[in-house]
Amino acid sequence: MSAAIEVEGLEVSFPDGRWRVSILDGVDFRVEAGEVLALVGESGCGKSMTALGCMRLIPKPGRIDRGRVLLDGRELLELPVPAMRQVRGAEISMIFQEPMTSLSPVVTVGTQVVEAIRLHEKISVSAARKRVADLFARVGIPDPAERLDAYPHQLSGGLKQRVMIAMALCTQPRVLIADEPTTALDVTIQAQILELMRELQRETGTAILLITHDLGIVNELADRVAVMYAGRIVEEATRHELFRQPRHPYTQGLLRSMPALVAPGEPLHEIAGTVPPPSDWPAGCRFVDRCPRAFDPCAGPAPDFQMLGRGHSAACHALAAEPGE
């Protein structure tokens, strides 16, 4: 059985002066139907770019250099433009971080969702509106029929994000990409949205690629977790395993620097230094300059993934040097 979506060796680069700087460097992952994969990392690590790469929406002047994106085994990167357009929104949908700006401010939200339906289905406007009203009710928008004619600015952030979710789900896509869906929201609203996503995912069985920097949200929603650092995935594991037994030094550092996991009064773990900009990424292991366990091989070629158990793998020379399990 093929995965709902499978990404292999995705490479994306942007021009910087005379050179092209690679900001995704061979990203691989797969999300099975009905599964939630969380892509975690700090800002600038390329997780949003990965999402856009799956949609083939890398903003210019960036471009996909290599790699494959398979949707149910179908190679999306080879599709002609009109066919890809039919895939977007119909088979893969996306929710964005900023519900405030992700909706066109001068068009009613109902019309925007109707457009999403009518781009993929031959259906009358009134029928589409009816369907949108139902969807609105399903994503927990009060007074759905009236809200159809509301403009985005008349809705709160939480409601806007619900509209975005409705828009993403209106065509019953195989894959939903949620890029920081709750980052801009207050914690009480965030809880509501997470609850909603959980529910919908259970009902529809959609595969979700969840992109976030918040390990709490990962814990709430994800089945499996992939940790990204500087354009690469460094560790992948099930949720439980990752929290309990992080193996990559970066993942370990990340978890130990969270105030929620440290007792008050005790110092937090610090990862030395800062994430370098893409133009300064080290040639081998990207974490080498900040890694407490760095040793000679780390400056050499990039480490390969080590299988560390059921669905747990990490890319670290130090792990390779340890006796295998």
């Binding site: 207050d186 709430e220 937090l268």
Partner: protein
């Protein structure tokens, strides 16, 4: 309490007028801060927690008189700052400083780090001039763990975390006693946030600073604060020692807030959603208890009657349930 707190706020109200109509008459107010009492003790950390729009930032800015409070007293070591005119206020500004959220916007891009730091020193006549000042600035930079040579560089040459350190150094350069940290770590990545939090902790130990920590991030509060005040729609709804608030929250809002925080314990997930709906507009706060529109424990009485802060163990809570 035996000793007077370093800073005590009493009945602070800061409203913003809403002008409408032909003559731009004031037809109402956004009641950003509507009767807040708060205390910060020397060398301790008080956290002010709440969701966006609850007025917590305005409290911080009102203390510094960056917004003019409408009424209330801001007692710094017993002296009411709210009643002072600008000239009288000047010496007190040295004692109260602020660190902002956005490391991009809080530093003037046209000034070198050295000038950023020298500004406050110049204003209060600290550190003299020339090489003495330079030495002092270098010392400040070392203290926030930056290379003293970086004083010759411009803010945009630094990363977000480093900029935040410069912001802290700027505040510390005038030797304040109280630092208001307005969402100072919220915009940072976890690993950077850890660095700054550690730094703040160390500075408190070294210099005996008091912090008023304004944030929405409860995990940071729990890690850092001695006292917590929870704000909702311009009012403090609960106050108390950190441990008590987190273990035994008394106000339904506090309870909802805490339960909404996603847990990082892989064995505990699926938080209960207790607080529903959206925050009402602060220009027209609901009558009665301001939280009643979203409260899971809503009683008929809450609709018309506003609860006052009632004492609970080690603090206060604004709810009829604690009566």
């Amino acid at each position: 309490m035996s000793e007077a707190p370093l800073l005590a706020i009493e009945g602070l109200r800061t409203w913003f007028p809403i002008r409408k109509g032909l003559l731009r008459r004031v037809v109402g107010h956004v009641r950003a801060v509507d009767g807040v009492d708060l205390e910060v003790e020397a060398g301790k950390t008080t956290a002010l927690v709440g969701e966006s729009g609850c007025g917590k930032t305005t409290v911080g800015r009102s203390i510094l008189r960056l917004e003019e409070p409408r009424e209330g007293r801001i007692l710094y070591r017993g002296r009411d700052l709210a009643s002072l005119d600008p000239a009288e206020l000047h010496p007190y500004r040295q004692k109260l400083q602020i660190v902002f959220q956005d490391p991009m916007a809080s530093l003037n891009p046209r000034l070198r780090v050295r000038d950023v730091l020298a500004e406050g020193m110049h204003s209060f006549g600290i550190g003299g001039g020339g090489s003495e000042q330079t030495d002092r600035i270098a010392e400040m930079l070392r203290r926030v763990r930056l290379d003293p040579d970086s004083m010759w560089r411009y803010p945009h040459e630094f990363s977000g975390g480093q900029r935040q350190r410069i912001g802290i150094a700027r505040a510390l350069a005038v030797e304040p006693e109280l630092l208001i940290c307005d969402e100072s770590v919220s915009a940072l990545d976890v690993s950077i946030q850890a660095q700054i939090l550690n730094l703040l902790g160390e500075l408190q130990d070294e210099m005996g600073l008091a912090y008023l920590f304004i944030t929405h991030d409860l995990s940071v509060v729990r890690y850092l604060a001695d006292e917590v005040a929870v704000m909702y729609l311009g009012e403090i709804v609960e106050r108390g020692p950190t441990a008590r608030i987190f273990e035994e929250p008394r106000h339904p809002y506090t309870q909802g807030l805490l339960s909404a925080v996603p847990s990082v314990d892989p064995d505990r997930r699926h938080q209960a959603v207790r607080v529903l709906g959206d925050v009402p507009s602060p220009s027209a706060p609901p009558p009665g208890c301001r939280f009643h529109t979203r409260c899971p424990e809503f009683m008929e009485r809450c609709r018309s009657e506003a609860p006052t802060l009632l004492p609970v163990a080690g603090g206060e809570a604004r709810c009829f349930l604690v009566e």
